[in-house]
Amino acid sequence: MTTNTDHPSREVLERFLLAQLPASESRRVLRHLLAGCQDCQTNAGAAWKSTQPGAMSLPLDPALDARYDEVLDRVFQRVERVERVLARERSQARELLAALEPHPIQRQLLMLRNSAKFRSRALCEQLIEASQERGFKDPERALELADLAIEISRSLPEETHGADPPTQLESRAWAQSANAQRILGNHDGAERCFETAEELLAESQGVGIFDEARLYDLKASLRRDQRRWTEALELHDRVIGIYQCLGQRHLLGRAYAQKATVISEVGDFASSISLLRRALELLDPKEEPRMFLAARHNLIWALCESERYREAFALLFHTRPFYLQAGDRMNLLRMRWLEGQVAAGLGRSEQAEVAFLEVRRAFGELSLDFDGALVSLDLAVLLARQGRSTEVQRIAEEVLASFVARSIHREAIVAITLLKQAADQQRAEVDLVRQVSSFLRRSRSNPELAFERGSGLEVPPRAAS
């Protein structure tokens, strides 16, 4: 059709650009272009540009509009049929889940293997969602539910009403299993599960970016727990990019809030505050009230850490109804603790002391020793500021005794011992108490962290005393 001196037509050039020409003809066009035919390069350039997104002018050509309508009519009819089938399957799956629920896990696995009626995509999806809901409340059960979902996903037929391939569902189930392992503290197990989940996701052709976002979101939590901050932040950024692309405002807000927790961990409170503010503009309190409250709580806390107590006070005032609405004791105690921190920052020492004592007592009743110790140290900062060194000394003794009795990790005991020694010598300054308090907060999720005895705050060696 073309020779070196024979110019390819516009149609041939377009087909060449769409890789629709037979090899021999493609070779001829390429040869022609290689030889530097400027007319054909101009035409090819124009054809290339006309196949770029955004090149089509609006309004639509009526003939093209009609052809799009034909396709959409066909697809919509098909989708409506599938929706009816799915509604039936979902209803059946709820019954199947209820039938499984009363049995122990081994029996449940047996039921899945022996009865074909359990090989249902809808049941598998409900198990994954149930596992997600159990999450922190009952991670062991969350793990069992994810494992059941894995079992079902492996037995599903390749094609179900044009749905995503079963490997994609299996990938989601593995990711959920990984998350449960992470919550249970089994980071190696979680790592292996994520590897499988990612391999399966890569195998699934035409996979939706929504599922990628969910996987990265869960994996970012593992990286955060492993204190691999850079990787955690990269994963959060990918999730944010996907939710932006999909216009998922609430989920985007959630992703910003989660990224902010990582940024807080590395001590960049200014960035954390900015991210949390963005998150709160996007999060819908009706959709997920606990997430909304957590983001506000973290923002108030970050403001306190940045010593922006007036802003923290105002936000706390407006957030109180959300704490009261959540209603559970832990949230109310967290609110009271923040009230103490804000009052202390604003110089309202008496109010702060009352709040800290109240929260410390409540944590003691709930046997939450570590939280109790952190409140005690906030109280100790307050007392040290007022020069009440005997009371600081008593607090250091109590915390140390509690840590030793509960075998709290070694470095925490080292930090408290240093504080106690300083207090014994009436040398427990505000900065030292704050340093120990900040260390305990950071070491909570990282018992390997060593207490840095720097910044001129070291307690003199015993021999000197």
């Binding site: 070196n4 001196t5 060449f16 650009l17 769409l18 890789a19 020409l21 090899a23 493609s26 070779r27 390429l30 040869r31 272009l33 290689l34 030889a35 530097g36 400027q38 390069q41 101009t42 090819a44 350039g45 290339w48 540009k49 196949t51 770029q52 997104p53 955004g54 089509m56 609006l58 639509l60 093209l64 509009d65 799009y68 309508d69 396709v71 959409l72 697809v75 919509f76 098909r78 989708v79 409506e80 599938v82 929706e83 995509r121 999806e125 969602e129 009403h161 044009g162 749905a163 939706g208 970016i209 929504f210 969910r214 999909l246 216009g247 998922q248 405002r249 819908d284 009706k286 959709e287």
Partner: protein, 175 residues
């Protein structure tokens, strides 16, 4: 904001789809997707939406975002096919034993001229690939790339070569 299942209870799937129709057509025309090729894109996106009833928060935005992403992937696939076609055509050409010598020389000279206009990194890679017949692992070893990144780097360089051929023009003799 309300969840997808609430939407379908309050309105109906039919209403939801009709609301989506004009926006879908605008996206397809803007991305220049031939009507025949839109069927898979829109069906996959809608079925994915149905299967994610519990998780999707704003279904219209989700559908539009997903379809746009699929349109981008569609063009990425098309482009990749074009790059593969250019690459295999060149490889086949330079490997053909039966071509007349003069024609071979011309092709090589013209190809070298185009490659000369590319950035250093691609120049080196394509010269080894097309000029000396190096296999990707040999190119990787020679240029210091990891074997795992070779495929991506090669595709990028072939893409540049293709664009140079099609868009930038060579500014050489007119046939």
């Amino acid at each position: 904001m309300i969840a997808l299942d609430e939407i379908f209870i309050e309105t109906s799937l039919e209403t939801f789809l009709e609301e989506a129709r004009p926006r879908l057509k605008i996206i397809f025309s803007r991305y220049r997707i031939p009507p025949d090729d839109t069927e898979d894109i829109v069906q996959q996106a809608l079925l994915a939406l149905l299967y994610r009833l519990g998780s999707v928060r704003d279904p219209q935005a989700w559908l539009i975002g997903t379809v746009k992403n699929k349109c981008l992937l569609y063009w990425r696939d098309q482009r990749r096919r074009l790059y593969d076609s250019v690459d295999s055509t060149v490889l086949e050409w330079i490997a053909r034993p039966s071509s007349p010598e003069q024609e071979d020389d011309d092709v090589r000279r013209d190809l070298d001229a185009v490659i000369e206009t590319l950035p250093n990194r691609c120049r080196a890679l394509l010269s080894l690939r097309y000029g000396l017949g190096y296999e990707p692992p040999e190119v990787a070893a020679r240029l210091g790339y990891s074997a795992s990144s070779m495929s991506k780097i090669t595709t990028r360089c072939i893409a540049m070569l293709t664009r140079q051929l099609l868009v930038a023009g060579l500014g050489r003799k007119k046939i």
